[in-house]
Amino acid sequence: MTRASHLVASDVDLFSHALLEDPHPVLRELRDLGGAVYMRRHDFYVLTRYEDVRAAVRDWRTFTSARGTGLVPELNAGQIGGVLASDPPEHDSLRAVLSEQVSPRAIHKLRGDIGRQAAELVDAVVPLGTFDAITQLAQRLPVQVVADLIGLPEEGRENLIPGADAAFAAFGPLTPELQERLPYLVAFLEWIEQVGTRDQLAPGSWGAAVLDAVDEGRLPADKAFPLMRAFLVAGMDTTVNGIGSMLRIFAERPDVWEEVRSNPKLAGAAFEETLRLESPVQGFFRETTRDVEIDGTTVPAGSRVCLHFGSANRDERHFVDPNRFDLHRGALDHLAFGNGVHGCAGQGLARLEARAIVSALAERVTTFELAGSPVRHYNPVIRGLQELPIAVTTRARTKGVRS
């Protein structure tokens, strides 16, 4: 006997502004509704439970990336065949081009350099007393670090943040907001084609390594720019928002900040728990290659399926008291970086950048508090802030106030 398949459906618009201000109550309802829920708005299925998302992300034969990892076919078209939107073995040969460079064992050597850059950025904002931790801190380090690693010239780097934001927005529905952002994406793509050349890229850089792979016949020439773009986009809003959300938690939870400040070794734990709670990439899409049964619902072959990392990471079936930030949770099995063949290649770098910011702050700052209301940034698949006003005091200043 097979169970009769039933359709669990919802009319919620998962990408609306109002919902994305606070998606968690609705995501919880969806998790309770069923393992796979058909979303009538935008015509896709969403997987919201930890075990289902984890199983799907590790099963690329059933949940293919080769037809794009965004919602809309028109927008997926430009992505197909790139490192995100491909399956093994094509995917593996693309990922292999930079895997030595981005691997944690190579990244480790950058620790001193990234630590210095983080210290410089923190030194520039701390004397101000109040500052915007997103634009003046969280956005700065990834732009500097990733652009340097790819080997891009200084001029034109202002294209990176808006370009990456638009690239991520293109994973969601075709909305007027997306249309407004597309010019930024176009400007970013044009800039990469201009500067992603042998004479412009720094020798020994990741960008130069991509061109080496073309020269050595390991990479088709037409894949060079898309690969550089993929690493650039992937290294922006993800890390920026991971760091931004972590700083917000520090500002709202003085107990957490105090603990991290007195023991900066907890920086890594703070970042992992932030990623679980505020996963910068909330979800990516796959397409089913066959009919799949999930929790009694048959997801037909050829369906768009959203793997909701943000929801999976707050699934009460897997995490105890999932909405609570717990510095000592030790939940390294969160899915914020995905998992499996498409597991985030740059996660070692992201961890290094986040730890560098925390160490630099911990060494210099005593109190770390909100100086105004944080403002959420709207992006259909990325969760983060556009403003985070922060007030800090340093050791010297706190003493002065108290004496």
């Binding site: 064992r105 099995d333 995905g338 998992n339 985030c344 996660q347 070692g348």
Partner: protein, 63 residues
């Protein structure tokens, strides 16, 4: 229980070692080595937890 490590996939993230240092070790090149050919029963849960956190699914538990 055994753990098979796919050396070609391992990128040296080191999360397995962080979770289960008695089972996994990163060598000088940050490539994972599994300390036991056959995982002792008392370490099975740790071995599983370590395999579970591998970001690139390079570790497989075989029963």
């Amino acid at each position: 229980m055994r753990v098979s490590a796919d050396m070609a996939r391992c990128e040296g993230h080191g999360l397995c070692e962080e979770v289960a240092p008695s089972v996994y070790e990163l060598d000088d090149d940050a490539v994972v080595t599994v300390a036991h050919e056959k995982v002792p029963p008392e370490l099975e849960r740790l071995a599983e937890a370590g395999a579970q956190v591998c970001p690139v699914a390079a570790l497989k538990v075989i029963r």
